[in-house]
C-alpha cells in the first residue's frame, strides 16, 4: 500500500496508536485490578491503597478460597451447567434450525413456526408465571432446571437459520441426488460447513450459561445450590442498606475482605479467559456469516 507519509499523517499515527493502547488497556484493567486486589494484603485492599499494582503481596485470599467448600460447589455447578447446557443447546439448535431454514415451499409449517419463535423472543409472561411453571415442573435445585429454564435461545436460533439459508443449494441438492436422507445431509454436509458459526454459538451459549445469576437465585432453595455468579452476586453486592443492625455493621467491617472478594471474582473470570482466545478467531466470522448477509 503506497500512502504518502505527510507529517500530519505521522502525528495521527502516533496518537492513534496511543489511543488504541489506552482503550485496550482500559478493557483489561478490571481484570488486572481484581487480580492485584486478590494478591494484595487484606489491609491494603480494604484501605483502598491498591490501584495499578499489588500492595503487600499475600496469597492469603487464595489459601482461604481453597478451604471454601461452597465456592467450589458453586464453581462445579456452574461448570456442569455450562458444559452440559452448551452441548444440549447446540445439539437442539443444529437440528431445530435446519427445517426452519427451508423455504415454505419445501416445508410448509416453516413460516408459522418461525413467527411463533420470533414471538417467543419478544414476549414472556414475566418472572412470576415463569417461576410458578418451574415449580410445577420440579425444576428447583435441579441441574436440568438450570439448563432448560431459560427456554430456547431464539436469537442464536435465528443466527443459525440465517447461516443455513446462506449455504449454496447445490451442496444440499448434491447430497440428495446421492440418496442421503435429511438427517444424514444435516450432519454430514451442513454441520461441517457450519463450524465457524457453531463455534460462535458455543461461545455465546457458554458465556450465557456461565454468566447467568438470576435464574440461579430464583431456582435454588439455598446457597449450596447456587451457581457461581449467584454466589458471587450475594457475596459482593447483597449488603442490604436498610436492614443492618449495629452488630451486623461491626461484624461486616471486621469481615469485609476486598482481597478475598476480588480473588473469587478473578477465579470466576478465568474460565472465560481460557476459552475465549480459542473461539475468538471463529466468532468474527460467525457473526458475519449469520447476521449480515447482503
Amino acid at each position: 500500500m503506497v500512502r504518502s507519509k505527510s507529517l500530519g499523517s505521522k502525528i495521527f499515527d502516533v496518537f492513534n496508536t496511543i489511543l488504541m493502547t489506552v482503550l485496550a488497556l482500559s478493557c483489561i484493567y478490571p481484570l488486572w485490578y481484581a487480580f492485584c486486589l486478590s494478591i494484595s494484603s487484606k489491609s491494603a485492599a480494604n484501605s483502598g491503597m491498591v490501584t495499578f499494582y499489588p500492595v503487600g503481596f499475600s496469597m492469603a485470599s487464595y489459601q482461604q478460597i481453597m478451604g471454601d467448600a461452597q465456592f467450589f460447589r458453586s464453581f462445579l455447578i456452574s461448570t456442569g451447567r455450562t458444559v452440559l447446557g452448551t452441548a444440549f443447546t447446540i445439539l437442539v439448535l443444529v437440528i431445530f434450525a435446519y427445517p426452519l431454514s427451508k423455504p415454505a415451499s419445501e416445508y410448509r409449517p416453516r413460516n408459522v413456526i418461525m413467527w411463533i419463535v420470533i414471538f417467543c423472543m419478544l414476549f414472556n409472561g414475566g418472572t412470576i408465571p415463569w417461576y410458578i411453571t418451574m415449580v410445577k415442573y420440579h425444576m428447583i435445585n435441579s441441574m436440568v432446571g438450570l439448563i432448560l429454564c431459560g427456554g430456547v435461545p431464539v436469537f442464536n436460533l435465528i443466527l443459525l437459520v440465517n447461516f443455513y439459508r446462506s449455504l449454496p443449494r447445490e451442496l444440499i441438492e448434491a447430497a440428495r441426488v446421492d440418496g442421503a436422507g435429511e438427517w444424514r445431509t444435516l450432519f454430514r454436509i451442513v454441520v461441517p460447513c457450519a463450524v465457524p458459526v457453531l463455534a460462535t454459538l458455543v461461545l455465546f451459549t457458554s458465556v450465557g450459561y456461565w454468566n447467568e445469576f438470576f435464574q440461579g437465585l430464583v431456582l435454588s432453595s439455598g446457597e449450596r445450590y447456587y451457581p457461581l455468579q449467584t454466589y458471587i452476586k450475594q457475596m459482593v453486592v447483597n449488603v442490604q442498606t436498610t436492614n443492618l443492625s449495629m452488630d451486623q455493621i461491626e461484624t461486616m467491617d471486621k469481615l469485609s475482605n476486598k482481597s478475598l472478594d476480588a480473588a473469587k471474582v478473578f477465579i470466576s473470570m478465568l474460565p472465560m479467559l481460557v476459552v475465549y482466545p480459542f473461539l475468538q478467531r471463529y466468532f468474527v466470522n460467525g457473526i458475519m456469516l449469520g447476521a449480515v448477509k447482503e
Binding site: G222, V236, N238, V239, N243, L244, M246, I249, K258
Partner: protein, 574 residues
C-alpha cells in the same frame, strides 16, 4: 464494596437497627410506665384460658416436622459440620419439644430473602412458617394463604410472651392482624428506641458555667455560648445535624429515632411531621401539614443561619463520626446513641461527659412521638396442621425464655429458626429502675436469679452493673468518670441504659403521639417513595436556607396533588 456501602449508610442503618441490638440484650424492671394517652386504643383481647407454662412449653408425643424458610446473614457462619437445620438450636427444639425443623430454603437477608418470600406467595408454595414484613403479611393474608392464629395464640403463648404483648397495649397483636384476625406472631421492639433525647457535653456546660437544658430556649442559649467560647477550638459545632443518609425526622414507617435529626425539637413545639395523625372524630391528617411544622422549620432555619447547627448538615458522611471526633457540643438521638452509638468518642476522649436530657416544651411539658412496636411477623401456612402451628408458637415461647441460655459465640442467635425477637416495650425503662435498685443496695443480683420474666437480660445486667459503675454515689447524677471502661461492651450497655435512657425512664410523659398507621396503603406502594424524597429535599433545603419557607407551601400543594389526598383517604379507611 461492603465498606463503601457501610460507610455511606452507617448512620442511617444505625438509626434503624439499633433496636435489634438493644432487644437482644436488655433487662427488666418495674418502671413507672409513662402515662398513656393514645387516641386509638381499643384492645383486641380474646377471652381464652390464661397462658400457662405447661401448654406453652409442652413436648409433643411424636416428632412434629416444621418446614421453614430461613433468612441467613452473609456475615454469620456456623462451624464446619453444622447447618441451618442442624445446630444447637434445632437440637434443642427436637430434644425438648420434639419439634424437628426442616429448612425448605434459605436466602440472604434483605432483597434475596424478600424475593423468595414473594415467590412463595405468588406461587402459593409457602413453607409451614417464615418471617415476613407487613406488606407480605397483608398480601398473603388477603389471598387466604395464612393460618388464623387468633385463638390458638391466646391459648399457646407463654406468660412471658403475653407480658411482652401486653406491654404494647395490644398494639403488637393489632399490627399482626388483618381484617381483625391475627395471622402472625409479631416480633416487638422497645418503645424508647423511637424517642429522641438531647445529649450534651456536660463537661463543656460546666466549663461555661451553664445549667443542663430543659427547653428549646435553654438549648438555644447553650448553643450560643458554645459558639462564643468554642470549647473544642475554632471548628466547634454546637449542634450536630443529620448526615446525608438521615432525614430531619423519621417517616411514619420507621421504627427508630434518627441520630442527628430534629424530631425532638418538633415534638417540643407540638409538631409531629412525617406521621399520620387521627383526631378524636376520626379525621386523618398528615403531620407535616400543620402550622407548627412550618414554624419549626423556620425556627430551625434560624438556628442554622445563626451558626448553631453544623453548617455541613445533610452533606456529611456520618454524624456519628463527627460526634466521635469531639467537636460537637449537643446532638439529638435515641437512648442508645450516648453508649452504643458513639463508643469511639470515649476512646478518643475518656472524659467526654455526654449526658442525655428530655426536650420539654416551653411550659415544661414532655411530648414524645413513638414508632411502630413491631418489626417482623412470623406467619404460618394456612394448610399447616394444628400441631405445626402449635410448634411454631412454642418456638417463639422458647426463644424468649431461653435465648440467653445459649452460647452464641460460635453459633449466633441468627440461626434460631424463624427467629422473632421479642422485647417488652418498656424493657429499657424497667431495667433502668432495677439497675438503680442494685446500685442503691435495695436488691442484690441474687434476687434476680431463677426468675423467668419477659425481661430476659435482666439477670446478666444486674450482675455487671456494680463493677461497671464503681463511682456511683446515691443522689448524684452519674458522670462518665463514674464508669469503668475495662469491659467496653458492658460500659456501652450500662451507659446507654443509665444515662441514655434516663430521660424516658424518669420523666413523666404528658403527650404521646404515634402514627395511626405503620404500613403502606395501596397508593403509597407506588407513590410514597417519591413523596418522601420530595419531603426530605424540601426540609433540608429550608433549614439550610437554600430555599425559603415558600418551598414548604409548595411542597404541601404538590404532596396533595401527587397522591397525598388519595393516601389520606386510604389511611382514614384503613
Amino acid at each position: 464494596m461492603r465498606k463503601r456501602i457501610v460507610s455511606a449508610l452507617l448512620t442511617c442503618a444505625l438509626t434503624i437497627s439499633m433496636l435489634s441490638g438493644c432487644g437482644s440484650d436488655t433487662a427488666p424492671a418495674e418502671s413507672t410506665p409513662p402515662e398513656e394517652q393514645e387516641s386509638d386504643s381499643g384492645s383486641t383481647q380474646a377471652v381464652t384460658a390464661e397462658p400457662s407454662d405447661e401448654v406453652a412449653f409442652q413436648k409433643f408425643p411424636e416428632v412434629v416436622e416444621v418446614h421453614v424458610g430461613q433468612g441467613v446473614s452473609t456475615t454469620d457462619s456456623l462451624p464446619a459440620g453444622l447447618s441451618v437445620d442442624n445446630n444447637q438450636y434445632t437440637d434443642y427444639l427436637l430434644e425438648k419439644y420434639n419439634i424437628k425443623v426442616v429448612v425448605d430454603w434459605t436466602a440472604a437477608n434483605g432483597n434475596d430473602y424478600n424475593q423468595k418470600v414473594a415467590l412463595c406467595i405468588a406461587s402459593n408454595t409457602l413453607p409451614d412458617a417464615m418471617v415476613v414484613n407487613r406488606e407480605y403479611l397483608v398480601k398473603a393474608a388477603k389471598s387466604g394463604q395464612l393460618y388464623d392464629l387468633t385463638d390458638l395464640f391466646q391459648q399457646m403463648q407463654s406468660p412471658q410472651v403475653k407480658e411482652v404483648m401486653d406491654s404494647t397495649d395490644g398494639e403488637a397483636i393489632r399490627e399482626s392482624s388483618v381484617d381483625g384476625r391475627q395471622y402472625a406472631i409479631p416480633a416487638t421492639e422497645v418503645e424508647t428506641g423511637s424517642i429522641q433525647t438531647v445529649s450534651v457535653r456536660q463537661d463543656w456546660l460546666d466549663e461555661c458555667g451553664l445549667e443542663a437544658p430543659k427547653t428549646l430556649a435553654d438549648i438555644e442559649n447553650i448553643a450560643k455560648v458554645f459558639m462564643e467560647k468554642k470549647p473544642a477550638g475554632e471548628d466547634t459545632i454546637a449542634i450536630a445535624g443529620p448526615d446525608k443518609n438521615t432525614s430531619l425526622y423519621p417517616s411514619f414507617q420507621d421504627t427508630g429515632a434518627t441520630t442527628g435529626g430534629f424530631e425532638a425539637v418538633f415534638s417540643a413545639r407540638d409538631a409531629y411531621p412525617g406521621l399520620f395523625l387521627k383526631d378524636e372524630s376520626g379525621n386523618v391528617s398528615y403531620g407535616t401539614d400543620t402550622a407548627a411544622v412550618r414554624e419549626t422549620l423556620e425556627f430551625l432555619a434560624d438556628w442554622y443561619a445563626k451558626g448553631y447547627i453544623d453548617p455541613e448538615m445533610g452533606t456529611r458522611d456520618s454524624t456519628v463520626e463527627l460526634i466521635n471526633s469531639g467537636k460537637v457540643g449537643m446532638f439529638f438521638g435515641a437512648w442508645w446513641v450516648p453508649g452504643y452509638g458513639i463508643g469511639d468518642a470515649y476512646r478518643n476522649e475518656p472524659d467526654a461527659n455526654w449526658q442525655s436530657y428530655p426536650v420539654l416544651t416551653d411550659d415544661g411539658k414532655y411530648n414524645v412521638r413513638t414508632g411502630s412496636v413491631t418489626s417482623g411477623y412470623c406467619v404460618i401456612r394456612k394448610d399447616a396442621s394444628e400441631d405445626v402451628a402449635k410448634a411454631v408458637i412454642i418456638m417463639a415461647n422458647a426463644l424468649l425464655r431461653d435465648e440467653n441460655t445459649f452460647d452464641v459465640s460460635e453459633q449466633p442467635l441468627n440461626f434460631w429458626p424463624i427467629r422473632t425477637l421479642m422485647a417488652p416495650a418498656d424493657e429499657c425503662e424497667y431495667t433502668y429502675h432495677e439497675l438503680y435498685n442494685i446500685l442503691d443496695g435495695k436488691t442484690t443480683p441474687e434476687d434476680y436469679q431463677g426468675i423467668t420474666s419477659a425481661y430476659k437480660l435482666l439477670a446478666s445486667d444486674v450482675a455487671v452493673v456494680k463493677e461497671t459503675v464503681p463511682g456511683y454515689e446515691s443522689g448524684r447524677q452519674l458522670s462518665v468518670s463514674d464508669f469503668s471502661m475495662d469491659n467496653f461492651g458492658n460500659f456501652q450497655r450500662m451507659y446507654s441504659l443509665l444515662v441514655g435512657d434516663r430521660p424516658y425512664s424518669t420523666t413523666p410523659v404528658d403527650k404521646k403521639v404515634k402514627s395511626c398507621i405503620f404500613s403502606q396503603t395501596p397508593t403509597m406502594e407506588s407513590k410514597w417513595a417519591n413523596l418522601l424524597s420530595m419531603e426530605k429535599e424540601m426540609t433540608m433545603k429550608v433549614v439550610t436556607g437554600k430555599s425559603d419557607i415558600s418551598a414548604y407551601d409548595e411542597f404541601i400543594e404538590n404532596w396533595m396533588a401527587e397522591g397525598g389526598e388519595t393516601i389520606l383517604q386510604e389511611v382514614a379507611e384503613y
